[in-house]
């Protein structure tokens, strides 16, 4: 029998000379991406895992058995009911925003499996598509089963099928990143920026938090997914290296665009979980500390290794680490009935911890929590509406998230009139992304535009129930509905 290393490259590198169609017809630039290079320009493409399909099946099978064992042991509704309700909200946030985005990533990988420019790349993307299918199914299976015990878990499957505002933002992001991008942009944006740059926040940071909290099912789920991500993320760097060699400005543009968009997503799903929804005694580091270690240090060194510059807005990004997710969380807390998960009110101990972790910004942010706490104190426990907004909020015309950039002293929103229509953006990078490809983004209507054109109701209660698809059974509340002993003192 010949040795694995003797046949593997032959099996992976199955490129051949086309005889009855031109290469440009088989791999049109519009679908394969740019820069368009002949096959010889991609033949050095390689990645370190070099997994065969047989090896893939063996490994995945073992992982499935392992996840199933944990699920059967500690994944029943009664097991989940023992967990802190704030932590369960972090799980609901993660579980609704990621599984169907992973399904969109199946499509992105399959496009690369056909239109990627090297056969080994196409092989790895095929395995990547199988990975992403698994990442869709695992949380749907494990967490949607909890619906009878907690209707908010219905949003694990439901979110992406609604026009709830987070869903609008999530689709705006994932449709472009995963469904519509060509294999080159997909590899740089998804595999390199999103997966190697950011997913460690969820897969390492949140997995460790899950262990400390005692949520073995969630820990096992994300760990199992992480090992797949680590493999197929390797698609990105060799694609980026080739693009860099031929069109460095385009490579830099894709890095700058997708780093910002990815950062915003993780500021919500990981920022909320690490700094607000993980019980204080189980927090090991702040979101900012984790980003500094896992994103800033590692991503910067990856960029430097490839000869790329840091994104032009780097100083704004670093500054936003002290503010952005805090402003989003406070905003979302006071509009919690517009989402499908609950919120924890930070008490004196949590606020002291946040002050210690965020000395540059907390003096500006703390008065917001002091005011919300005072409103709870005035109204008494159970009176959710007194700490809940009734006024419609504005959304960024690019990221579709609420306008929470900048600081409480000076919100960073920016306005411009583009082709006769007033636009608002939460930040300078969002405005820049819009202006680079206005034909792509301009037709999209944000929630406010839908309200103003009569497509969505202006009344907040009607908006929440009729347009977002929420009801009193599943809309977000305070996890303790104001029953905090420290509020009375």
């Amino acid at each position: 029998m010949i040795d694995r290393d003797e046949w593997l490259d032959l099996a992976r590198k199955l490129d051949w000379e086309l005889s009855y169609v031109e290469e440009r017809e088989a791999f049109p630039e519009q679908v394969s991406g740019r820069p368009w290079l002949p096959a010889t320009g991609w033949q050095q493409w390689d990645e370190p895992y070099r997994t065969s399909y047989a090896e893939y099946v063996d490994t995945q099978s073992a992982k499935e058995v392992s996840v199933a064992a944990v699920r059967e042991t500690v994944g029943r509704p009664e097991d989940m009911a023992k967990l802190d309700p704030a932590w369960l909200s972090a799980v609901k946030l993660h579980a609704a925003t990621l599984p169907l985005a992973e399904f969109a990533a199946v499509i992105g990988n399959l496009r690369a499996a056909r239109f990627g420019r090297d056969s080994a790349w196409r092989t790895t993307a095929t395995l990547g598509a199988l990975d992403e299918l698994r990442h869709t199914q695992l949380p749907l299976l494990a967490l949607h089963d909890l619906v009878p015990a907690d209707p908010q878990f219905d949003w694990v499957h439901k979110l992406f099928h609604t026009d709830q505002w987070v869903a609008v933002a999530a689709r705006h992001f994932s449709d472009e990143l995963l469904l519509a991008s060509n294999p080159i942009e997909f590899a740089i944006a998804t595999n390199f920026v999103f997966e190697t740059g950011f997913t460690n926040l969820q897969f390492v940071g949140l997995s460790a938090a899950a262990r400390r909290v005692g949520d073995r099912l969630f820990e096992k789920l994300v760990q199992s997914i992480q090992t797949d991500e680590a493999r197929h993320a390797q698609i990105g760097a060799p694609v980026l290296e080739t693009v860099l060699a031929h069109d460095p400005e385009y490579a830099q543009y894709l890095i700058d665009k997708w780093f910002w968009r990815s950062w915003q997503l993780f500021a919500v799903i990981t920022g909320f979980a690490m700094d607000y929804l993980t019980p204080l005694q189980h927090r090991a580091a702040s979101f900012k500390e984790f980003v500094q270690e896992w994103v800033i240090e590692q991503f910067q060194s990856s960029l430097a290794r490839l000869g790329l510059r840091r994104p032009w807005y780097w100083d704004q990004f670093v500054g936003a680490l002290d503010y952005y997710h805090h402003m989003l969380y406070a905003s979302a807390y006071s509009y919690r009935a517009t989402v499908w998960f609950d919120f924890a009110l930070p008490g004196p101990d949590e606020r002291a911890w946040l002050a210690e972790k965020y000395p540059a910004s907390w003096l500006e942010l703390d008065p917001i929590w002091a005011q919300i706490t005072e409103r709870w104190r005035s109204a008494g426990p159970g009176v959710e509406w007194y700490t809940h907004g009734a006024t419609p909020v504005a959304f960024c015309n690019l990221c579709q998230l609420v306008l929470c950039s900048g600081t409480p002293r000076h919100n960073g929103a920016r306005q411009l009139t583009h082709e006769g229509r007033k636009r608002v953006f939460c930040s300078e990078p969002c405005e820049w992304i819009f202006l680079r490809e206005p034909e792509r983004y301009a037709p999209h209507e944000d929630i406010v535009a839908r309200i103003m054109t009569g497509k969505a109701p202006a009344n907040v209660i009607a908006l929440v129930t009729q347009y977002f698809g929420l009801s009193k059974d599943d809309w977000g509340s305070d996890v303790r509905s104001g029953h905090y002993p420290w509020i009375r003192s």
Binding site: M327, Q371, R375, V402, L403, P408, Q415
Partner: protein
């Protein structure tokens, strides 16, 4: 005519859609914006309103100030000391 404005109350965490009538005064606009943000920012008795970096006179109407749909206005609540000086 009802005009939706993008209101940013200093000290708040997000931008709001503040609905005003074109004949409302700027002072009324400040009251409405502060009321909309009240669960996060304690309202002050008075507030200054800025449009494109210029402070608007409180007695001016929204129409006279030239505000149109989705214009950004910044509302700066006055501290007691500032209020006394004003």
């Amino acid at each position: 005519m009802t005009i939706p404005l993008l209101g940013f109350v200093r000290g708040d965490s997000l931008g709001l859609i503040v609905l005003v009538d074109s004949e409302h005064s700027i002072a009324e606009l400040a009251v409405r914006a502060q009321r909309a943000a009240a669960m996060r920012v304690a309202p002050a008795a008075h507030a200054s309103v800025y449009f494109a970096g210029v402070r608007l006179a409180p007695e001016l109407t929204v129409a006279a100030a030239g505000l149109g749909p989705l214009d950004r206005v910044d509302i700066v609540p006055l501290t007691d000391a500032e209020d006394a000086r004003a």
